[in-house]
Structures are given as structure tokens and as C-alpha cells.
Symmetry: D3
Subunit: 248 residues, 6 copies
């Protein structure tokens, strides 16, 4: 089984972190194909960056499907471009926020997502609401830039710990969800340190993707996820016209 | 007062319909600047098209703001790119779905949105939910392509009438919201024909934009609508890096 | 265009504040007709006062419509008598709470209403819920009598400032809505002082009323807003029987 | 124990029906004092009538409390004036809609309210929502004037039966709530005829009022139900100023 | 009228407390039959204990109905086994949480339930949600074992007072609901001490049960509360097969 | 990895169906241990049967954990006993309803659960609500006894097909969830026949359990899932006292 894991930001070192996390939990027979998007922002922080991460992401998903991937994972906690990707692809597509929340729901009644920047807090809250967890999950921002997670000299991990501490005390969180793909390497250590389950979305998504493939399930192509209508796309975006991207 | 009205699909004839509707209701002192996006799909039908309508839309909004527009309207009923535009722009930005729903709420307790294609029904339902109207508004699709609205020989208007009839009978709708910018020219006739208020989002958005400008109100730039972080954007999308687009 | 603005409490000095705010934002071609109800409480603080503010309010709305007003505004943040007024009137009727919330929703994702007395907090919360903003807006009471806003020696404005400060810090409000018609003169100063949008409902309602009139929209007279059934009214209230009030 | 039952419309024959229903279920030691409001509409059909039923209702509640009533019931299914009455009175006040819904919730998971006129359907739906039953109860209108229930030659009871039949089939209702005080005499017969529980709000409210009195419970006078602030009331409404009405 | 009150834990001294509370508020003509379950945990603290309290509870309800009881009360604030009991019994069955919440709703807009152990907080929150009070009621745990309420030397009552104090200040509770049958003797004293209504579920349930019986209402036996299907039950549980338990 | 799959009804032939479905999708390295409860009803149809299925279920889960199982699956679509099992067990426990809904949410926006008997419809609806899918999923009952699924001469499968047809047409379902463990063998055929994804909960739960084990995640033992308090259990249920069952 081949799983495509797309890092929709354009920072290859973050892809490496993501790939490690994915490989660590994948089944022996699962082949993890981790790719970095070739266009767009170096990190995804808020609504504006999200928009420009999607074209590169969709290119990678279309290419991955043509190369034989059986499922795709979008490795950004905003679940950037998830709906468009599901409409485009014939294979199932999973976002890491959605995957993390749905697995956490099996093991905790109340939990807290700790994400990076304040500007991402409300977009993640909207996802929590969309996925039916509004009564169960709170969202906190540690107020750290995404790429500071890669800088050993930054204060990012301490800020993250502070928010986890606050979540356990003030939110009575029973578990913590890490709200950024760039935190994928921290789950095990933080779980040990705080003595509660700490869930990373990349790992969760790998297992959910394996599940869908094993069960032969893929996106229902009725309604809003029907394959995009073939039509003209103008300007520099013509390469993304449905016919173009599907046959490129 | 100068209002920018962006048609985020790339079909100039639809822009003409939108511009007419906007001018018809604008204050005498309001200058309507209607523009067609120069890149992306010729119509926006579902999640995939939405993605690729946004870059061109944001270019026009940034350009319009530099040229002195005091507010911007996104003339697509999916409110395509609304959050990113609000983060980017210093001027207020209004989506036509949001504008139509909020005006209709002043005159009807229960109403129905009639949109074009089935694949747009659930995205519009999600907007209805986001804007707090889930208990009041239903969404129906007339199952017609967006551009068929421009074709006098198509059956589009009859299909639209059929859904309005069904909404009045089955949903007990007290008013009808037209769920596509391309229907902007039909509101008055349909209202006369059916004897109920029929609301067009373009017109509604013009008045809401005028209201915000008159009151000196603009997007609160705290939290999720804070100005995008300056950072590198790679590949063909580097022209959209926040610094680039804001100073272009 | 003639807009009727009814102050449903019987304090003319508050009407003056309201009228000033309305004129300041009205279009040049809009004629503001501000009236004070001639019967009922001198201020509206809680459920009991609301009841007795409505008869006088409805008399003014019926009279205003007969005199040619094209829309009516109820200038009390409880949206007192709004549903009855909509059933009665042929012209559109707008409450200032409803107007303020719907305009604020265009510029902020999370905001806080600061009202006067604790006894008004839950009624305003019920309106926030009714208008679909329960997930977005909090309500605080500054614990000040309505009429103390008119007394330059009272501590009312300082109490108001304290609650705004708390809203920005604790609620992470991106904007503030002033929850009393008697605060209509304070919005600009408070916005400057706190550096966030501060919305006054009277001003918002004027622009929304202008919008409805410009678009030719009025209350859908189906269902709960159908014109009241003609019938006998007994005792001192017989003057309010639908036939009487509509033809008085 | 003395219970006040106020018919807030001004039709004494309906009070007789209500009084009979109340007496039939009251405890032997409960004294039912049924009164007809002396001012306002002869029937309450929609928002407009509601407004003018409240002053007369509040007079009766204040008078009843002074005369020694230990609880008051508002015998109109719109729960007309309930919040104002609770703020005014020192004794507990119960609405018949609220009472009917809360008792029905003990015996059925899904049920339907059948009310009179279409214009009352949405107001009752709002009550269903307020009382936390939105997921459990549907509302239907039989499209009959309130007073037609008193006319043996009208078709009202057949229309009511038709809606009950539809509720059992289409809503899968497990029980029926009669949505008008004027139907209080029909519950037993309809229950026998349809073989399901049929709940009348007047009877339900009598038992709930007896319960509150027996338990020594009354309205919490904190927050929105605090006693009205003493203040001037102008015009013909001065007799309703809190000080006046409480000491009249 | 005979009312069965079942203490579903197996501690007779708690049954005595419950019985006292029930008798104190029952009508003179009501015969209270209080019984202790003969099997299961000595106190019900959390999901696990709940499971094993139900068989003994159902035996008592079936027996009570055979002996002529006209309604049954489940005297545990988790409303343990309520749905199964309603399916089994021909008489109405009331849980004390449901009864307390529905009576409190008549006298307060916002209130707080104070229960015993933290592990019971979320189960009670789920009930608050089920009964439609999620927007009105908060739940607090005093962190005290159930049986400590019976120990005069424990700190339980002081812990309870601390939470009531916090509820009044922080939750702005207008009334307090005691969240354990073992607190049934404390309501009057605490109400006097804190000056707010304090509601005990046992007392509330007695009055609600009397109400249902007086009105001739019982569980609607359609849908989920239809009498259990007759079928084989294996092992030591065969004595609980529907046919066995109903005819035992 | 060893997964325990408990059929909480006492019909071994249904366990065989469940075991087959589980083995078909399990990883090669996963050892499926399917067991039939030794006490309780032969099928679980409604609230009453649920109660008596739990003791036997918990015995099997405690025994399975002692024997080395790393996760447990409750193979009944009511997710019978799930909360108690999570409090009891140190290993993660998954219900098949929860597993099916959460996997389906990755591939469809709107879907329908088709369960067996009408009396199970509302309990399943309550689960749909609990798991956050109330806006996305409908529940239908095919009105067939559970064990009729095993009878080749029954009409059960045709009734099931009828409801699937209705769900696709009337609910616009994009996917179908089979609402009974006894349907586990039908998913592939029905998916082929109807051309939409058809999800079986047993298969879904196997993959979710594998996911949790692979990620080292288990129930957060804070709050409501804390290990049951050690205490006396009386009567025939003493064998289920926490200390007894955990050390048996």
C-alpha cells in the first residue's frame, strides 16, 4: 500500500519531520511517499497562506494518484484544501486535524488542541465545529511561529508546554492534540512528560488512511465531492483546469 | 465613495450583469468599479473551482484598495476567498451570500436559497450555518450550470422557477434568496411573479458596503484577520507573497 | 427617503442623542424623523419595562407609516416590540440590536456586546442567540442605569470602559458593540480610545433601513408576520385593535 | 392552596373551559381562581395580539398575588408575558406551553404540538426552542381561528384531528400536545380516539404550580427576574409603573 | 395514590434520607413506598457503578408495578436505567435529575448543579444536554464520595458549600440544584443559608410523579419505549428476560 | 497484536459473522479473538436488552485484557456498555457505531444509517448526536428483527435494500452505514449493488483499534473514565464489584 503524504508548505525540513512521524507508525507493508509542495508559502499561518498552499498541494495529490498512491494525507493542521482535494481525487484524502480529532474522540471525552499562532486559533476552532467536536474540544494557541518549532534555540517548546499545562488545569483536558504538523516529533515526549495521551495528527492520519484503503473505501463522488466540471481556466491558472490537472 | 465589485470568475458577460445590478441600487455618490478576475475558472461550481478563483480575486482586491476603493465585494455566492481577502485588505470586504442572508433576516423568519448546481448546495449550506441561519434557511439547487443563466435558450430560468415554487410550498419560505451572482438581474421579475421578496446578493452587498464605509467601519485586524505574516512564497506563487501583493 | 426612528422610552433627551447619531450617518437624501414614545417607562430596563414600551412604540410606527415613512427603526437595544411591529407595519422595521450584530459580523469573528444593567444581560443574550451569533458574541453588563448615561457626573462611562477593557482581554473581542441606544454618541470616541471597531446600533440600523428601502424590500407578510387579524380589543386597549390602529 | 389561572384573552367562555380543565385535575385542597383579563384582544393569534394581552394579564397577576394566590398560571399557549410576570410577581408563574412540554418530556421522546393558526406556528416553535425541546418536538398548525374551537358548527375539531393523524404518521409523534388553552376540554377524548397520550397545557400547569408551591419554590429574583426598577411611566400606562402596580 | 421510590444503590441509610424527603413533600393522599435495591453497588459513582445498579432497580420497578404503584421514581441523580425502566414499565417512571432540572427551569434562567465526584460531572453534563438545558445549566463536582454525605465527621458539607459559593459568584447561578439523592435532606437549610432556591431532585420527582398520575399520563409505548421484545436471556441473567421479569 | 471482539448478544452464529468480517480486514499481524458473551439476551433490540448485555460484555473485556488483548471492540451498533467498559479497561475500547461514523465522515458529507428495528432508531440517533454527526447523518429502521438477518428465508435483506433506496433518493445520502453487527457480511455486496460506499462498523472498528494500538494510545483515565472506585457490590452482582472483576 502506497500512501502519499503532502506537506503543503514549501519547507522540506518540515517534510522530513512529517515523514519520520509517518514512517514510525505505518504498517510494514505501507510505503510512505512524503512530498513537499513546490509552490506557495514556507509555512501556513492563517487564512491567507492557506489559499496559496492549495494549488501546489493539488498538483502533488493528482501526481501521487497517477503514480499509484492509494490514499493521500494533507499534512497541515488547517486541513488546507481538503474539500477541493476530495473533489479532485479518486483516492481518499485525509486531513490531519480531522484524523487527530476523530482518533482522540475514542479515548477522551474532553480535550484541548494546542496550535501555533493566535491567527490560526479561530480557523482550527471552525474545524473543531465542522467535525462535530465543539462541545468536547477547546483550542489554544501557544503564540509561536510555525518554523520556530524547527529552531532548537527558540522558546517554542516551552511555550507549548505552558499551554499544555494550562489546558490540563483550566480546561480539564483529558488529552492533548498537537495542532501543527511541525509538532509531529514531540507527541511521545510530551505524553511521557505530562502523563496524558498526546495525539499527533500526522500519525493519526496515516492509520486512518491505511484503514480506508484496507476497507476499500473512498470518497463518495456524489454531491459536493463529484469530480470537478471540465471547463476553461484562464491565465497562469489554466494548468489547473480540471481536465489539465487530471491528465497532466 | 468607491466600491470595488470583483467577479471572481473570469467571464466578463457575467461581470456586466453584476455591474448592472450594483449600479442600479448604489447611492448616487457611490462609484461602482466592477472588475473581472483575470485568472481562474470561467464559472465557480463547487470546491475545486473555488480554490482557483481566489488568487485572481485577491490580486483585484489588493489593486482596488491601492486605487482607492473603500470597500470590496466578492460577487460569487460561495463567498469565495472571503477570509483571506479580509486578512489581506485594509478595507472592509463583503461576500454576497453573507450580505443577502443578513438583509433577508430583517424581513423574513424562514426563507430558502436557490442556487445553481447540486455540487454547490452543501457549500452554501455550510455558509448558512456559519452565518447563524441554520434554523431559518434552507438551500435548494436548481441543477443548472452557472453559465446557462446567460443563455436565453436554456431551460435555466424555468428550473429556477420550479425550485422557487417548491420552496414556497414545501419549505413554507417567506422569501427567496437567489444563490448565484449570475441571477442578479432576475430578482425584481421573480419577486413580481411570485409575490414574495426575492433577494439578490450583489445588490445586498452594495448596500452593506456603503453602510460600512459610511460608518467608518472596517475589518478588525486582531486574531484571524490580522495582516498576513511577511514570508517567502515559492514557485509561480511568489507574486502572491504578502509583501509582494501588498506593494505590487 | 424618510426614516422613522422611534425611541420607545419616554425620555426626550435620549431621543435627542439618538437623533444626532442617526442624522450623522444618514444619506443626504434621507430624512430622519425621530420621535419619542408618548406613553410608557422613562427607560427600558428588563422584561417588565419592555412590555409597556410597546404600545406607545406601535402607535408611533403606525402613525409614521401613515405619514409616509418608508422604514422604521426601534431604538432600544432589546429590540422591544420588533415582531409585533413587523406584523403591524407594511414598511420594514429594524431593531438596533439586530442591525448592530449583523453589521459587526462583517468585520469581526468574535465580539462583545456591553449593555447597561445586569437585568438586561440575559434578554440581550437571548437576542444574540436568536440572531445566530451565539458562538461569536458575548454579552457583558456594565451595571449602570440607562439614564445615568446622560448624567455627566455619574460613573457610567468609566464602568463602560472597564467592561470594554475586560472584553478585549478576557473575551478576546475583536470589536465592541454598544448595547444601549443611549450610548449612541460614544462609539467614535471609544473606538479611538481602544483602537478597535466600536459599533452603535442606531447608526447601524439607519444604514440597514436605507438599504432595505433602496432595494425595495419589506417584511414578508406570510406566516408569523401576516397582518394582524381584525378583531375586538376590550377596555382601554381597544384603541390598539388592529383595525383601529391601522386606520387611526 | 390558592392558584390563580389567568386567561389573558378577554373571552369569558374560554375562561370557563380553562377553569373546568383546571378544577378537574387540581388537588382537593387546591382552590382554583380563574379570571378573565379585562382588557385586550378577544383571542390571541400571533405577535400583535400577544403585546396587548400582557397589560391586563399583569394586572390580574398582581391583584391575585395581593389576594393571596400562591402561584399563577398564564393560560395561553404562547406563554404570553411570562418573563414580565416573573419579574413582577413574588409568587411563581407558569406558562401552559412550558408546563405541557416539560411534562410530555417525561413520557415521550418525540412529540408534536398542534396549535391553531399558521401565524402562531413560528412563535410556538421559538418556545419549543427556548425550552430545550427543538430536537424532540415539531409544531403544526391546524389553520383554525382560536374562537372557532368554541363553535360546535365549525370544522375546527376535524381540522385538529387531521393534523394529529398527520403528526402520528409523518412526524412519528409518540404523544400530542394541544397548542391552545381553548383545547383544554379535548385532551381526554382525543387521547382515547387516537390511543396516544394527549397533553393539555392548562392541566399540566396546574400540577406544576401545585408542585412549586408544595416545595416552597419561587422565581429566583436575581438577574433578569429581579423586581422591576421603580421609575416613572408616562401617559395612560402610568398605572402600570412598577410602584403603582405593586401597591394598587 | 401509591408512588414507588427506588434507591438504586444498596445503602439503606440513604434510602431513609430519600424516603424522608419524599414523604415531606408528598400529598396527604400519596403513599410513598421507598425501597432499596437488593443488588449492586453501595453507591453509584460513575459509569461503571451505573451499569450494575440497573438490574436491581428494574426488579424493584417491576415488583412495585405489580403491587399497585402508579408511578416510579429512580432516586439517583444519574437517572440510572431510566430508558430501560420506561420500556419495561406500564407506569410512568421519573428520574430525579430530569425532575429537578424541569422544575428549576420554571424559576430560574441560569442555574448550577452541584454533584459529588468529578467522575460524575460529565455524565450529569450529558443529562443536562439531553434534557435541553445545555445553555442554561452548569455542572460542578464538590469532589466528595457519595457516602461521605452520611458521615457527620466528613468535610463533605463544607465542600458542597464551597461549590455553591463558587456557582453563585462565577456562574452567576440564580438557583442551585443538588446533584445527588443523598443530599435530599440539605435543600431547605442551604436555601436559607444562601438565600437562593435550592432544588432537591427527590422532592421534585415526587411532585412530577403525582402530576402524571393525576393527569392519567403514562409513557408512550411507541418507538423506543415499546415493551421489550420477548426473547431468550442466557446465563444468570435469564431471570431478567422480559417475559420472566414481567411475570415474576 | 491481539484484538478482542466481543459480541455482546449471546448468539454464537452472529459472532461467527462478526469474526469473519473482522478477520477479512485485519492486518496480517493482528490476531482476532472473537468471543460471545455468556449471559444476556440473544439479540439486542432497544434499551432494555442493552442493560442486560453489559455485564457479560464487561466480563469478556476484563478477561480479554488479562489474556493480553491490546484493544477491545464492542460489536453491537448501540455501542452497548461503551462508557463503563472504558472506565473499567486499561486497554482502548471501541464501539462499532462510533467507528463506522468516524470513518464515514472521511468520505462523505451526508450519509444515512440503516438499522434493524424501529425501537433502535432513537437510541442510534442519540449516538449520532453524541458523536457530533447530527447535521450529517440520518437514521432509518428497516423494521426487521436482528436475528432475521441470519435467516435466508426472511425478507430482511429486501427490507434493508428498500431503506437504502429510500436513503439515496430522499436523504440524498452519499454513503450508507449498516446499523447492526449482524449485517457485517453484507457491506461489499450492497456497495456493489448500489454503487455507493457501504460501511460496516465491525470492519471499521478493527482498523480503528489497530490504529490506536499502533500509536500507543489508550483511554485517558482522568475524569469520567477514571478506574472505578473499589467498593462493595451486593447480591448476585457482587462478582462485578470493581475489585472482583479486575482481579477475577
Amino acid at each position: 500500500m502506497q500512501l502519499l503524504v503532502v506537506n503543503p508548505n514549501t519547507t522540506p525540513t518540515m517534510t522530513a519531520t512529517i515523514e519520520d512521524a509517518a514512517r514510525r507508525v505505518a504498517n510494514p507493508s505501507t510505503d510512505i511517499l512524503a512530498v513537499t509542495s513546490s509552490m506557495g508559502p514556507v509555512s501556513i499561518e492563517g487564512y491567507y497562506d492557506e489559499v496559496f498552499a492549495v494549488p501546489g498541494l493539488l498538483i502533488e495529490i493528482a501526481r501521487g494518484e497517477r503514480m499509484g498512491a492509494q490514499a493521500a494525507i494533507i499534512a497541515c493542521f488547517d486541513d488546507t484544501g481538503l474539500d477541493a482535494a476530495r473533489a479532485l481525487a479518486g483516492i481518499p484524502v485525509i486531513g490531519i486535524c480531522e484524523a487527530a480529532l476523530s482518533l482522540t474522540a475514542f479515548i477522551a471525552q474532553r480535550f484541548t488542541v494546542v496550535t501555533t499562532m493566535e491567527r490560526s486559533r479561530l480557523p482550527v476552532e471552525a474545524l473543531v465545529h465542522r467535525y462535530g467536536m465543539a462541545g468536547r474540544a477547546k483550542v489554544r494557541a501557544a503564540d509561536i511561529p510555525v518554523l520556530s518549532l524547527e529552531d532548537p534555540n527558540s522558546n517554542a517548546r516551552n511555550r507549548l508546554r505552558d499551554e499544555i499545562t494550562a489546558a490540563l488545569l483550566e480546561d480539564r483536558a483529558e488529552a492533548i492534540v498537537l495542532g501543527c504538523a511541525g509538532m509531529a516529533d514531540l507527541a511521545a515526549d510530551l505524553s511521557r512528560e505530562f502523563g496524558v495521551p498526546v495525539i499527533d495528527g500526522v500519525s493519526a492520519a496515516v492509520k486512518q488512511a491505511e484503514a480506508l484503503v484496507a476497507l476499500g473505501l473512498s470518497t463518495a463522488k456524489r454531491g459536493a465531492y463529484a469530480t470537478p466540471v471540465s471547463k476553461a481556466y484562464l491565465g497562469m491558472l489554466e494548468q489547473f483546469a480540471p481536465a489539465a490537472i487530471l491528465s497532466a
